[in-house]
Symmetry: D2
Subunit: 231 residues, 4 copies
């Protein structure tokens, strides 16, 4: 696993910042290219090729357009993700990824919290969405949240000082707490993730991660990005 | 889905209480029996039977002892689970289950929190475990936690009143918040869950759910329970 | 597992014949209803219902139309399938099912072969399809195939008589050999199977099984069938 | 996908021959190392390292011995496999792999068959195994099998000449036919495959592939190989 920092709050070199710089996602490892996709697809016909030409680019587009997605599963990515707990819970609902996450049962170091840069209003018509706020007192609300984060951390540390074990004490920490996890997935399932999470129905915060993933992998699978209109 | 209550804080009829009555797990639907297991196993040999006899009981034991577990996958269970968020996060790491969970993006009703009945100390030698507390001031610590829960809920409601959307406001709610989810799994993967979660390495809270599952399904798969020493 | 026959070449009571009566698929067990789907979906909003009304039917349609398919995973089916080996191989590419199959390593009884009722021509333009034959000498070709099946079985039995083990001797048996397997799947993944296998791109033989599944489960999930235009 | 041949009957450079040279498995791509495993495991404690030391080797052993296998899922392998159909069917029962296989619906070129180098006898006591043959007339039996392969191919080609489509004509080809497929899997599930398929209960033919995989990946994960006694 090349080039990752010693501290889990520091992103790896190839990363994209999100959430006003409070979160990030880095690409730390990768296997396969679009030539892998083409070869896995052409095996049906008993063919293999060494380099891609224009017909292969057309094949990649055909496969995606027609949901013949199994050849995409030979391309893999490993990411390191730094995000709030509530984003992590949405993410881990995707069961085709492999995950390993920091655990507050085992360490109480480097605890930070996500403070929304801009608070959004509840949408009236659509229960799934929020909208840009016009009437919210941003300064006051953000200040209340920041104070709550600090009070939560003080209580957590107080409980530890009283002798309470980490696995119980962490229960007082809010869902805005930041976490870090390894995440490995194949290209087929990654595309499904992006469709669901970089969507107007998804929460704005996780959507930023979906968009960041597109930026990170477009150089590796440019024809896939083109057919899916990622640019 | 038979016999479930209108309110998601009320357990279905066939349930086991855990966490001093603050949590519960109910069995709401089920498919297959030990005869299903035996028939799925005997298909290799071209055989089917209508009822189980003693040789079939021996076969169930042989299958489990020798990790021939695919026949167990034709027996399914659907549970309704009421647990703290931190237990939910451990549970959802098991990727062979199907889940549907209450979302605080869509409702702000019936919010409650888990208040540990007894706080445990950090174990010295084993970083994964906690132990019975001798030196903790239980009353004071539990009172601090309860006050923090109330303060968290007040801030959540204050933010909603200020116009902040639920999906952002919920970030201040602590991981002790209770949640409710549907969970469907086959017997093979359920046994793996129990092995990992009803274990001395697991956190005491999720372990109670693992033990409750044993009680709920032992009447349905008595020979499986016997070979795994669940009694 | 209710009501299955002693011999694996005999279908269970609730079945559909396919391949001119040479193959069949039976529904032998089932869990959940459309009410299960609705309840699993409404848990997001903290709601549960006992019976379905018109709004629930609309919800089922909304879920499928918008690919919110996780609530469909709490409805399960177990089938018993009797089909040629080449259909089995296409079927087992679907990795979300649970399978247990008769094995010719363990039994050499009740061996039969699929003899196509009508042979089809190779399509010119589309490499994936075949078409109704006009120029094939059906009687002669079918007779050649039938004789080959008989010769294959004779050689298999000769090899067994010579002392060769079943697991090696079976290698001479053709892919038209019939097999029988248990297959359990949830409704979400069953719909994906039907979309891929009851399709003009799929081989005609497996397509008959896809259509038979629709007939077997439409009475159980009528609104799902309606929104997917299965009638 | 580096260095694969144009013809699917030719192995890639990094391969192991099996089945008397009639079959082979090649390693064509790979992601992650034992350092990836260690880092994914240490994230629980908030730690990352650049290179492995002796404590890390001990950690790899601890993880495997205690079934903490999720960190192994960030190491991936892509193989190209050339094997008989009956081995392919056993292999594809492993549902955590990604597969793409040559299809006789789409091509009728380069068809070959597996002719066992030595025929084995049926074991008396254990229905799963075969044993070294003492009483089999090897020459005669192998000659009968070889003739049957040739007759099967002639019939296949005759049917194509009569206008029958490939997808139906292939039904006469025996399970000894060789096939080729791409196969991608993570290290955790690969170890499970090896435990089941390089086992005395497994058929000798697939066991050779399990042993070949060990040879191919031992240089990449030497401490894993050591703790599992692969040498």
């Amino acid at each position: 696993m090349p080039n990752v920092a010693e501290n889990l709050n520091v992103p790896p070199p190839n990363h994209v910042l999100v959430l006003d710089g409070q979160g990030w996602i880095g690409l730390v490892d990768q296997m396969g290219t679009e030539t892998s996709i083409v070869n896995a697809a052409r095996v049906s016909f008993g063919k293999i090729r060494q380099v891609m030409d224009q017909r292969d680019a057309a094949l990649v587009k055909y496969l995606i357009a027609n949901h013949h997605t199994s050849p995409l599963e030979h391309v893999m990515f490993t990411f390191l993700v730094h995000c709030p707990l509530f984003v992590r819970s949405q993410w881990h609902r995707h069961r085709t990824w492999s995950y390993n996450e920091i655990s507050r049962r085992y360490t109480n170091e480097d605890i930070t919290f996500y403070l929304p840069g801009a608070l959004r209003e509840q949408a009236e018509s659509d229960r799934q969405a929020s909208k840009v706020a016009e009437h919210i007192n941003q300064d006051e609300c953000r200040s209340l949240i920041a104070k709550h984060h600090a009070a939560s951390l003080r209580l957590f540390e107080r409980l530890l000082a009283e002798g309470v074990c980490r696995e119980q004490a962490r229960g007082v920490l809010p869902q805005n707490m930041m976490t870090t996890f390894w995440a490995t997935v194949d290209l087929n399932n990654l595309i499904k993730f992006i469709e669901l999470r970089d969507s107007p129905h998804a929460q704005s915060e996780i959507r930023e991660y979906g968009q960041a993933i597109k930026k990170l992998i477009t150089p590796i699978v440019p024809h896939v990005a083109e057919v899916l209109n990622w640019s």
